[in-house]
């Protein structure tokens, strides 16, 4: 499945944001595991940087899809 491959390599904004939110929640739950906390912190900083980058650099892209005329779609 080529589309799946592209999905894993592609940066998914929504998933990243959801993950960031869950890390914020993890910290707010008063968890005391330092090792895990440091890992999560690192991940959070990475995610937030990527999200920021995405917002600052990317443009919205519009592609017009050609309709399939001679094919019945069900």
């Amino acid at each position: 499945m080529p589309e799946k491959k592209s999905k894993t390599t592609k940066f998914d904004v929504n998933k990243s944001f959801t993950e960031l939110e869950s890390i914020t929640e993890w910290f707010e739950s008063g968890n005391m595991d330092l090792d895990e906390g440091l890992k999560k912190y690192e991940r959070a900083m990475e995610l937030s940087e990527k999200l920021r980058e995405r917002l600052e650099q990317a443009e919205n892209k519009i592609t017009e899809i050609q309709k399939k005329h001679n094919q019945s779609i069900d």
Partner: protein, 450 residues
């Protein structure tokens, strides 16, 4: 039949069929009408260029002639619906009439895209045809459209009720859109203001969204089919899309009818991609919007609902980052505290032990001192006692002690022997005495000391 004669026949039949059609609208009873045709045919038997048809050929000829009379796209008959009925769930029959005439209409349920009932005014598009088996004339309809706002509204209300009963607008079935879409399918007309507005607001608010535009007709004949096709096509790649947006600007009820089309509404309902539908308009909500997961009031509103505002998002992002940073710092600090406490604990214990020891020692010291004092006291009194027992003290008081030659104190008379020498110890010296006589207390004869 040679080709010239054939052409002639066609020409002649065309004339006949024209008057035939004309007559059709004046006669309700087609059997009478066909009787007229046959009389005409009999009359022609005796004239030149006579053609004798079999019934089937004749009907085929008439149908052929009828089909040549108009272009499919040209013919539309407007009238009032009566005697509407559906048979076997797939065939629709009704009559279209006006004050002076009546045309039977035949069509499939699939082609009937608007709910109609007796008394409605409709326009019927199709071709006239005689059904050979029964010789029954009808207008075979491809499409029926409602005439007038009243009829449209009535039909719309009926369709809405029907779809509502089926659960197409059920709020419990509505899905949420993702917070931030990566890629969406946009179904709109690329020339429309709605499209322009939508894209403008997206560009104002967000970056990095991939929009696949499925350009469609949004009004007029074929618009509904176009939209259904686009929805289905987008759904073939439903995994690629986070949302399906269908939007157009406002318009009259008639212009917006493709958004009330049953097939469009069903396609939206069936979409695997969460749907966002927004039609700019003033009054009623279209059925397409009712069936959508999320409804935008206008194309602009759709864009706002689809993506967050960049500034808000960045603020939120930095809030979250700093909250996490603060949290990790707190966590580290608290661990440092715990660690400090952990290190502190043994030394605290040691100090405590020292303190205890000190306390114990000082108590011991005090006890010892006291004990010593007591001992000392006892010693002193013993010394006093001993002093009082010192024989020298006795000698001082004038007593004399007798000792033997080895210096042992003699306490009994029995240790004396006549003629032996004893030493008398006195306060200030001693002298040797010779025992001359002994007297024992219980004897009559006692020696005397010299």
């Amino acid at each position: 039949m040679n080709s010239v004669a054939n052409a002639k026949n066609v020409a002649k039949n065309k004339v006949v069929s024209r008057s035939l059609i004309k007559d059709l609208f004046y006669f309700n009873n087609f059997n009478i009408y066909f009787l007229g045709i046959s009389i005409l045919a009999t009359f022609h038997l005796y004239s030149i260029d006579m053609t004798i048809f079999t019934v089937s050929d004749f009907l085929a000829h008439i149908n052929d002639t009828l089909s040549r009379a108009w272009n499919v796209s040209e013919l539309c008959v407007e009238g009032e619906v009566s005697d509407f009925r559906v048979s076997q769930g797939q065939w629709v029959n009704f009559s279209l009439k006006d004050d002076n005439g009546l045309v039977p209409i035949f069509m499939t349920v699939w082609n009937l895209r608007v709910p109609i009932e007796d008394g409605m005014r409709v326009q019927v598009y199709g071709m006239p045809r005689i059904y050979p088996k029964f010789g029954k004339f009808s207008l075979s309809a491809e499409r029926v459209e409602l005439v007038g706002e009243g009829a449209l509204k009535k039909a719309l209300a009926a369709l809405k009720l029907k779809l509502e009963k089926e659960g197409l607008f059920d709020p419990a079935r509505k899905r949420q859109l993702v917070t931030i879409p990566n890629r969406i399918a946009l179904i709109a007309s690329r020339e429309s203001a709605a499209y322009g507005d939508f894209v403008r607001i997206i560009n104002e608010r967000w970056r990095g969204l991939e929009i696949d535009l499925y350009h469609v007709k949004v009004q007029g004949a074929g618009a509904a089919e176009d939209i259904v096709k686009a929805i289905k096509q987008a759904n073939q790649n439903h995994k690629d899309y986070d949302a399906l947006v269908l939007t157009r600007g406002g318009g009259s009820l008639e212009e917006l009818m493709s958004f009330n089309d049953e097939q469009v509404v069903r396609a939206i309902f069936a979409s695997k991609i969460p749907t966002l539908v927004g039609i700019g308009h003033e009054r009623d909500i279209s059925l397409a919007e009712e069936a959508a997961d999320v409804r935008g009031s206008t194309p602009t509103d759709c864009a706002r609902r689809l993506v967050p505002d960049r500034q808000d998002f960045l603020r939120n992002l930095s809030y979250q980052s700093s909250a996490i940073e603060k949290n990790i710092n707190n966590l580290i600090e608290s661990w440092q505290r715990s660690l400090g406490q952990a290190i502190q604990a043994p030394s605290n214990w040691l100090a405590q032990q020292k303190q205890f020891l000190l306390h114990s020692t000082s108590k011991l010291d005090a006890n010892m001192a006291q004990w010593f004092k007591a001992l000392h006291e006892k010693h002193r009194s013993l010394v006093r006692l001993l002093a009082s027992l010192d024989p020298k003290g006795v000698l001082a008081r004038g007593y004399t002690m007798l000792c033997d030659a080895r210096g042992r104190a003699l306490t009994s008379i029995s240790s004396l022997a006549i003629g032996s020498t004893v030493t008398a110890v006195m306060r200030d010296g001693e002298g040797d005495l010779l025992v001359k006589q002994i007297r024992t207390d219980d004897l009559s004869e006692q020696q005397k000391l010299l």
